[in-house]
Subunit: 291 residues, 2 copies
């Protein structure tokens, strides 16, 4: 997806939010916005939003000296989400189509995004998830998901945020139980970027019990293939099916020619308009391989 | 009021909205945002938001060649608001405290602001005003307003937006009926800026029947005294009481030492936080002269 002009104010907003979470002086916060403002004219809008966000977030450690301001948030998100794991699992029991419920939960977990909202109350968000059964699903290619999953041997699962990965774990467990022979790779970021999940997070919530955990060699928000490691690129190329979590991965991979199932909660009006749905809708979008 | 860091993303958003209303190419829209980005690092945050907005909006005609993109919107806002004038006046009849109702209506009219929302449906907004009687008034210095009004001979009324001025007319008529001897000056902008009222707008809706209509010599959003005409500055200095409409005037005059009653609808979280209330609250804030 290309960057829209509406994304520009949002980059400044996100950067300010990150600078605040880094707990630096207002003067340094302004310096960070100024630096991004200086670079902006040279950035073409043909870049995807995560490509520009990657440049923007790169300014933060440069000026603040802080490489991982979201560390505490990531850790806490995992802990809180994990504490709800038994209740979340209970919600699946007895449902007619377990896989469907797990897919829904994995998408609902995408509400945990501190790049979009810095005032997120995790506990109350998860309680809402536990107490709701009617979600607005505007694009939901579930039958295709089920079909492609069945026939795919080699699955790549691109993670998004810490905390959210507990919801991924539920889906991965269901996939592993149904198809123990399939090879599933679960991919996190190599270095800190916002609250995106890292290797340590994946292990902490036990993803490794159900999938091979690896990094993509990059610290970009989303998945910018050109910035990823050779190892990741090889696996990305070979995968039969890709499950991609979060709006950032959608924004950076929507022009891909691979078989991808994008799972995310719509976070902004730009993406909502781009795919024709509303903010907060659950999306399971099949990007069919062009053969 | 100084500019907060949160205002920075908002300047970009407002500028983009104005560029779109000017109906120029996406390339030129980007050029306008880029130009503002280039200037931004040199602008100190001690400036009030309207001072920075004035710089930002100045880029628009420079690049687009369009000096008055909101012309049609202004004209239409006046026409639509005027068509509701009989119903609005009827709403006042029979109320116990007519002045109070007129003050409330004048503030409610401040909803007509295309700098904040470009998707405003004027008719439905005015219908809402006609059908509601419970407004959230967090700061409402009405008894002070009534008292100061009574004793003031020379009143300065700073207008905000086209369309909204029809609501001002109602308040002005009530003031004129109650106090026919008082001298009231109604001040509009000299040249186009967003949908702010101009001389032509004031005459179109008949303000001149109830007040002397004049311009402030400036095309800044809000009232930036240093940019105003000598004539306006003289009147501003002499006035016993100033009625100031809209958030822009509040932002630019909140540090004034004059007796000012700020009347506006809270439009953003920054101002809401600054004065301690919520977005959409009606505010009648007494800025008492420091003697």
């Amino acid at each position: 997806m290309k960057t829209y002009l509406d994304c520009i104010p949002c980059f400044f907003r996100q950067l300010l939010s990150a600078a605040r979470i880094a707990n630096i002086s207002a003067r340094d916060q302004k310096k960070i916005l100024d630096k991004f403002a200086q670079i902006l004219p040279d950035i073409p809008l043909s870049y995807s939003p995560p490509e520009i966000a990657h440049i923007a977030y790169g300014i933060l450690p440069e000026i603040s000296g802080k490489k991982d301001p979201y560390n505490r948030i990531r850790r806490k998100s995992n802990e809180i989400a994990l504490s709800f794991l038994p209740q979340l699992k209970k919600k699946i029991e007895g449902t007619k189509d377990k896989l469907l419920k797990c897919v829904e939960l994995a998408i609902l977990g995408n509400v945990i995004d501190f790049g979009v909202r810095d005032d997120l109350n995790l506990r109350s968000e998860i309680k809402k998830i536990l107490n709701t059964d009617n979600y607005k699903k505007s694009i939901f290619h579930y039958s295709e998901f089920k079909r492609v999953l069945k026939k795919s041997d080699f699955i790549l699962y691109l993670a998004d945020n810490a905390g959210e990965i507990v919801f991924d774990r539920i889906l991965l467990e269901e996939m592993k139980n149904t198809y123990p022979q399939k090879k599933i790779y679960y991919v996190v970021k190599s270095e800190p970027i916002i609250n995106d999940a890292l290797l340590d997070d994946a292990y902490r919530v036990g993803i490794n019990m159900f999938a091979y955990v690896m990094t993509n060699g990059s610290n970009a928000p989303g998945t910018i293939i050109s910035l990823c490691s050779k190892e990741f690129k090889g696996i990305y190329k070979k995968a039969d099916m890709i499950i991609s979590k979060g709006q950032g991965n959608f924004e950076s991979l929507s022009r891909s020619t691979k078989d991808i199932f994008f799972m995310f909660m719509v976070k902004c009006s730009v993406v909502a308009k781009h795919i024709g749905c509303n903010i907060s809708d659950l999306v399971l979008l099949y990007n069919k391989k062009r053969r």
